[in-house]
Amino acid sequence: MGIVTVLWEKWTEFRRDFYKITVSAMVSPLMYLIIFGMGIQTTSHGEPYLHFLVPGIVSMATMTGSFSAIAQNMSVQRLYEKALDQIMVSPTPLWQFILGQVLGGALRGLYAGCVILLLTYPIRTDLIFNSLSLFIMLLNGMVFSTIGLVLSFMAKSYSDAPRYTSFIITPMSFLCNTFFSTEQMPAGFRQAVAILPLSQTSSMIRAIANGQPPDVIGFVILGAYLVVFGLISMVFIYRKKNL
């Protein structure tokens, strides 16, 4: 099965670069936790700010973990290593290759999120993270893996992948319910930010962390992103004439 082959490829990559992957998953979120959660001591909605921040940082870590695992890697494989040619000519069904990439990327995102959960465990925030939280993290990772795939298929040079991070991932990291509630944003802009996938993930994980049920609309929005970008990546790999 092609999916298993891609997951094997991702596993060899993870095994080889374990320390690099783990450290890079930790550095930025850890800085945010130290600066905003511990350095600048404040409260949000009557609670310590750290209680608000941790679910947002976990969501953000799954996003960046998944996106960078796919967007950067696939751009290099396609444009520099030309390793995608090997896949294209092989009899492995290309939809299985796509699905394997999406799952592999999502697992990398889940790993990054779990690293943050482990790091924040000693803080004793009493926040709840259960199997549903893990599922949402995985779903978020799948969404950003498909976005990463589409962008890597669109990339025209090696420098495009970091550009996508600057244009898409960095603004989402700061705007999408990670560091502050979108309730304070002006009308219109608030709604636009609310339909972005990271906003929904942060909201759902934060709701579970506070002992409340997640909003079902969040699953619908994440599912819609997954389907739309999944289909676009399929169209690219099957139809793009100069891949």
Partner: protein, 280 residues
């Protein structure tokens, strides 16, 4: 059997391959020759589905080759001009990845990896990552990878580029051997003597269009199997003759700088490509 029917590929205003019709028989060693930018690599890229044609189609055993045609693709293996491999994998991982993509059993993958890497003299470097290999070793690894799946059709895009003369000869012997096992081989090369030594038939293409198609011997016969080179004022001019007598007669009337030799496929290439260049 491979058929190219009206194969065309354009990039914006530039036509890289222009209405190319070819028929390559099963077990044939077929060469695609042409100057830089003639459309050889583009043709091979379409035959490996990395590029999709703008018009026309490719059929393998009568079935159109598309990105969804997995059974057709199973028959194909390609060695690209560039080193198309994951640079961070070691040789064993490269081979295992290939085996898994073609759904070979694990036992077969292990056996084939050992056999092919040892055969190519790469056995002791099996744990070395691709980025730490020399160009020649990467090229050999790509050949091992391509042969691992025992393809029916092998597409070779400049397979000996960057190899020294000895390695190139070793490669020729290897290719002859695999072709004797009835594998169809399509080769593009800049080394004309390589095509002459290996290919049953060659297609000369220029600016994406087919110029000549025949066996190397037939193409040489058509031009004239005897060549006389004349050097005058640093300018080399070559005349071709159908018989040795004609060539000797001309030689006796030419100056001391003239020399008789056998015509090669390179002469055919130079004449065809040169004629096109003059016609631009």
């Amino acid at each position: 059997m491979i058929e190219l029917r009206g194969l065309t590929k354009t990039f914006g205003d530039f036509t890289a391959v222009d209405d190319l019709d070819l028929r390559i028989e099963t077990g044939e060693f077929f060469g695609l020759l042409g100057p830089n930018g003639a459309g050889k690599t583009t043709t091979i890229s379409m035959m490996s589905t990395v590029l999709l044609p703008t018009a026309g189609e490719i059929l393998i055993d009568g079935v159109p080759l598309t990105r969804r045609a997995n059974e057709q693709k199973r028959k194909l293996s390609v060695i690209t001009q560039e080193y198309s491999m994951r640079q961070d994998m070691n040789m064993e991982e490269v081979m295992e990845y290939q085996g898994r993509l073609y759904r070979l059993p694990r036992k077969v993958i292990r056996e084939k990896t050992e056999e092919l890497l040892d055969f190519a003299g790469l056995g002791e470097y099996r744990r070395r990552t691709v980025r730490h290999l020399s160009g020649g070793m990467k090229r050999k690894l790509m050949i091992c990878r391509a042969l691992m799946i025992e393809p029916e059709i092998l597409l070779l895009d400049e397979p000996t580029a960057g190899m020294d003369a000895l390695s190139r000869r070793q490669m020729w012997n290897l290719l002859r051997k695999v072709n004797n096992n009835r594998m169809t081989i399509v080769l593009t090369t800049h080394y004309i003597e390589e095509a002459q030594a290996l290919c049953d038939r060659v297609a000369l293409i220029n600016r994406g269009k087919l110029q000549k198609l025949d066996s190397p011997d037939a193409l040489i016969r058509e031009l004239g199997p005897f060549a006389v080179d004349e050097t005058a004022e640093n300018d080399l001019k070559t005349r071709y003759f159908q018989s040795r007598d004609e060539a000797i007669e001309y030689l006796s009337s030419a100056g001391e700088t003239a020399a008789l030799r056998a015509t090669t496929l390179e002469d055919v290439f130079v004449v065809v490509a040169g004629r096109k260049l003059e016609g631009r």
